[in-house]
């Protein structure tokens, strides 16, 4: 945890739809909703399964390894909290279960590329908010 107060945007970790995701992140678990009927994954949360239109779902652990679909490197901070991180990288990652997450790429970037393999890591930002992010697997 950083010494000074966390100054980037914070999600509503009590949001009834998404709270299980943020709670799991505190335990270093990456999760997605899974339809209890057809077993399709979905992320972020939806009130009904768009594959089979059944409502039952549970949050389940999913693979923490994935592939970069694409990435963008920010050279300007559109929120002051990101200034100290410039340039920073945001990527769309497809994990081994086929679930896509948009999140930060942290750590060394020498192997940053579309298709590069990544693994999840978890950054404790506040007492209640842990950010799931990604780091490149060494070449």
């Amino acid at each position: 945890m950083t010494e000074k107060a966390y100054n980037k945007p914070i999600p509503d970790v009590d949001d009834p739809q998404m709270a299980p995701f943020w709670t799991a992140a505190r335990d270093r678990r990456l999760t997605a909703q899974q339809c209890t009927s057809c077993k399709s994954y979905r992320y972020p949360a939806l009130e009904i399964c768009p594959t089979c239109l059944e409502q039952g779902a549970e949050w389940v652990d999913v693979s923490q390894e994935g592939t970069i679909w694409s990435f963008a490197t920010y050279h300007r901070a559109f929120h002051p909290g990101f200034k100290e991180d410039l340039p920073y990288v945001v990527a769309i990652v497809e994990n081994a279960d086929g679930v896509r997450y948009t999140g930060r790429i942290l750590g060394p970037r020498d192997d940053l590329a579309v298709g590069a393999k990544v693994r999840a890591l978890f950054v404790d930002c506040t007492d209640r908010f842990t950010l799931p992010a990604w780091e490149l697997l060494g070449a």
């Binding site: 995701f21 300007r76 579309v114």
Partner: protein, 377 residues
């Protein structure tokens, strides 16, 4: 059922406010001031209008019920579109006129996002937002990075969209960004959201714009050369980010096939191309999805100079949102009508143009296309 709308409805009036900073003017006021100009252009007064279609401002205002009190009419047909980018508004007007629900319809858009300092960088605090994915440039940069990785387009090839827009804007007295920008200037600029540079992203400005549409029969009585709608199509990807690879916007291929199939026209029939340009990469995608260049070849095609002044298919001759003004694509149609009427002015009038195509999208959710011409058939 006869679904052919070819030549049944025409644009008979165009109008707009000054573009730029209009402090103290609401989106609704800007809409009404633009409608006044469009009525003047069409040679009519409010008694001739029996339809109004407004496009919401980015703040969600400028609805028909908010514009109505200022415009002072109760037309029999009134609607508001959430994101009217001129295509969707034109399509709704054509449907209303072709079905007899209205005879003569004013379409309008008004915005004050610049002076109101609308927070375009703001993102919802979901995982992407708290991770720093902000501004429409973020998703566009993601899409462009993947494209470059797959197809190897160079920065210079891609840069022709922004550089070309500026070349056209330099010939347009309305345009807000008219300073010269060479390819060398462009390439020397830092990335904003890599691989996008500042000139690859829309400006933000205030203004209002309006069109007046009526039936082909009535259009003959108007003072200006009517510009007929020859074809129109739409496609959606309303599942949004739940659609795999949604940023590739492959759904636009459906809008493409529909408009070419329904009109019988081909890309080579198009004299002028207008593409709404919140980001330069959305333009490149539309060039490819609508078949002006094949997938992965758009950059090389641009570098051949087709879209530049003097080229065979001029693109966004007003300078677009990258260099003219920020009217969600509406000023593209105003410019297309001026070009087709032959009144775009000596500096940028393209000689002998008869058919223009206009393409626009609501990010990765919806897309639309229209083909317009001074000829009905």
């Amino acid at each position: 059922m006869d679904t052919n709308i070819r030549g049944k409805v025409a644009i008979v009036g165009i109008g707009h406010t000054a573009q730029g900073e209009l402090p103290g003017q609401s989106p609704e006021l800007n809409s009404v001031l633009a409608i006044k100009e469009a009525m003047k252009d069409a040679g009519i007064d409010r008694s001739a209008l029996d339809g109004l279609i407004t496009c919401k401002s980015v703040q969600g205002t400028n609805t028909d019920c908010q514009v109505g009190p200022l415009l002072g009419i109760n037309p029999r047909y009134a609607q508001t579109l959430d994101y009217g980018t001129c295509n969707f508004s034109i399509h709704l007007a054509v449907q209303a006129i072709a079905t007899g629900m209205a005879d003569t319809v004013a379409l309008c858009y008004g915005a004050n996002a610049r002076t109101m300092k609308f927070p375009f960088g703001f993102s919802a605090p979901n995982l992407a937002g708290v991770s720093g994915l902000m501004h429409v440039g973020g998703p566009a940069a993601l899409a462009l990075q993947r494209y470059k990785s797959l197809y190897g387009m160079t920065d210079e090839e891609f840069g022709w969209i922004a550089v070309g827009a500026r070349e056209w804007a330099r010939r347009n007295p309305i345009a807000l960004f008219r300073d010269p920008m060479s390819m060398a200037d462009y390439l020397a600029m830092d990335y904003l959201i890599e691989p996008l540079r500042r000139p690859d992203l829309t400006m933000v400005s205030d203004g209002g714009v309006s069109l007046i549409l009526t039936s082909a029969e009535r259009a003959a009585d108007f003072p200006n050369k009517p510009v007929y709608i020859l074809g129109m199509s739409e496609a959606s990807q309303i599942r949004g980010e739940f659609t795999p690879s949604y940023l590739d916007r492959e759904f636009l291929g459906l809008a493409s096939r529909q408009i070419w199939n329904s009109t019988g026209l081909t890309q080579s029939d198009i004299d002028l191309l207008y593409i709404q340009d919140p980001t330069a990469f959305w333009v490149l995608q539309m060039i490819e999805h609508f078949g002006f260049a094949s997938l992965g070849e758009g950059g090389k095609w641009l570098a051949e100079g087709h879209t530049l002044p003097g080229g065979s298919l001029p693109l966004n001759t007003n300078g677009g949102q990258l260099s003219e003004c920020y009217m969600w694509g509406w000023m593209h149609i105003v410019e297309a009508v001026r070009q087709l009427r032959g009144v775009a002015g000596a500096e940028r009038q393209v000689p002998g143009v008869e058919i223009a195509m206009y393409l626009s999208t609501q990010t990765w959710f919806k897309g639309g296309a229209s083909i317009i011409s001074t000829h009905k058939g």
